[in-house]
Amino acid sequence: MSKTEYVSPEGLRLDGRRPMEMRQLRAEIGTVAKANGSAVFEMGNTKVIAAVYGPREFSCWFVVDDECNSVFQVQNRSQQLNDQALAVNGDITCHPPDHGGVHFDSSNASFSGTRSACINAATLALADAGIPMRDIVTSCSAGYLNSTPLLDLNYIEDSAGGPDVTVGILPKLDKVTLLQMEAKLPVDIFENVMGLAVEGCKAVANYIKEMLWKDEDDALLKQALALSMNIPGSDSSVGDAEMSEATNDQELAMGMSCYLFVVLTYLEFLCHMDGLHNCGSHVGLKFYYLAKSYQSSITKELNMLALQMFMLNGSIDQSEESDVSKVLGDQSFMPSIISSELTQM
């Protein structure tokens, strides 16, 4: 069999793309009506459906460390790597008995492109389910054929037997969670190829962010995403009083704090309050920063006051008040949370 030209002399690949060009991306959330969260992610002709179910009783393994990390059981037909990629990201704080199950269906070939599409689909499905995450995980692959680094290999290019680097990153934290390579590659070329793959991941991340932001109905989702993805206007690294001003939308801040409330009630952070500032940019942390910013003292009563004050601050605005009171009234968790926190302390 003659050597196939994967990159033509003009610089075009077999499907007409340039070496640095990704395939067309298409994503859709909420496809599986019965699931708590679901998404379809397409990269070219590869299509993956991911669905999240939970919380459920879990049977065995559960990893607990000081940040109360989650257990995330990932059922995948062919590739177990997604498990690890997600688990690193999955600082998904849940109450111990809960855990979510993520299931994949890839309705096309199984090769490294599937792995990337699976990870991207899983991220979207988790976001759709409303699970609090530190950051989204995006993934992309790159290879090296005919002396050219190629981004986003398709099936034919992947079967060519050349090197194939799959990378998964946390875009906001700028960390790599998944790195896998097949075949041989000299180290200096490897750097190029990996850099290319990371660029691809960032492009996917941008696409996912745009796609999720378009979903106007889910205001709470947007707020959670704003926090996790460092959207300008909700500066998360500082986490000060500026938080509520920086978010132009008071409702955003209110919604966020309500959301955080739900997350926080499950945490044992109250015992580790002094060590909070060391824990990094955890979502739950920001709230405490907020609370602290209104009160310099760390005593519990004052913190409760701070919480209350903060909640009240938001309800000054008439238009938002109804929403806030609806949220508060519906759940009526405010008094129960405060009392539970007091008792825990």
Binding site: V32, H103, F104
Partner: protein, 266 residues
């Protein structure tokens, strides 16, 4: 499986006996059906059917193979259904296998006819390339993405749509060969043969809840059923297959009645 409270169960049963279901349908009304074909470009044919919250995909792949020695002039068709865990968490691992096999067998019976191949919805003789030597093997795969009751109907519809969407490549056979040699075949990438799917039946499932039967049950209604009969009816109104599920026994007259209702609904 959904957990229903006693009140909800009474509500469902009571409603059905008064011709009113949970989503305001009548007993013999189907949910809105959405069909999309050609969703999987790699397959020779594919379709996706959405029946309320039930979502299934069917794909058809064709490969060249050797025909059965007993039936040298017929091609082979295999139907296989897979209930994926995305449909329900209990389907993980081996959980969905029982349901998958049940669905596969029911579909094969309805669409493919008996052992001898007689009365099948698809004419297997149209699949043969060189008699006795080369024929097309069709692999029909069904995938359940989301399950909200009435999987059989949705799958049958998806298979029918996928088959109508299928293009079998034209095959040129090289010069005559003698004996047992395999003839050379040239598979054309360009030309396709369309399938004649007018003979493929549609399945109507009637679920008995209490004393009445309903068409197109959701999963809550299915959990209340005593038995169900799936009737496969083709365009001419002939009954092609019959499957009965569920533990309760049915009176013969009721079965005949159900069959006529199925024909009518179709």
């Amino acid at each position: 499986m959904v957990g229903l409270s006693v009140g909800e169960k009474h509500f469902i049963q009571g409603g059905i006996s008064q011709d009113l279901r949970l989503d305001c349908r009548k007993r013999l009304t189907y949910r809105p059906i959405y069909v999309e074909t050609g969703i999987i470009p790699q397959a020779h044919g594919s379709a996706r059917v959405r029946l309320g919250a039930t979502d299934v995909i069917a794909s058809v792949k064709a490969e060249l193979g050797k025909p059965n020695a007993l039936q040298p002039d017929k091609g082979k068709i295999a139907i296989f259904v897979d209930c994926s865990p995305t449909a329900a968490p209990m389907f993980e691992g081996r959980g969905g296998e029982e349901l998958s096999t049940e669905l596969s067998v029911a579909l094969e019976r309805c669409i493919l006819g008996g052992k001898s191949g007689a009365g099948a919805g698809i004419d297997p003789t149209s699949l043969v390339v060189v008699e006795g030597k080369v024929c097309w093997d069709l692999y029909v795969d069904g995938l359940v993405i989301s399950s909200d009751g009435n999987l059989l109907d949705a799958l049958a519809a998806a298979i029918k749509a996928a088959l109508s969407n299928t293009g079998i490549p034209k095959v040129d056979v090289a010069a005559e060969m003698t004996g047992d040699e395999q003839p050379e075949v040239n598979i054309s990438d360009e030309e396709f043969l369309q399938f004649d799917t007018s003979g493929i039946p549609v399945i109507v499932t009637l679920t008995k809840v209490g004393k009445q039967y309903i068409v197109d049950a959701t999963s809550e209604e299915e959990s209340q059923m005593t038995s169900a009969v799936s009737v496969s009816v083709n365009r001419k109104g002939h009954v092609c297959g019959l499957t009965k599920r569920g533990g309760a026994g049915l009176d013969l007259s009721i079965i005949l009645d159900m069959i006529s209702v199925a024909k009518h609904v179709k």
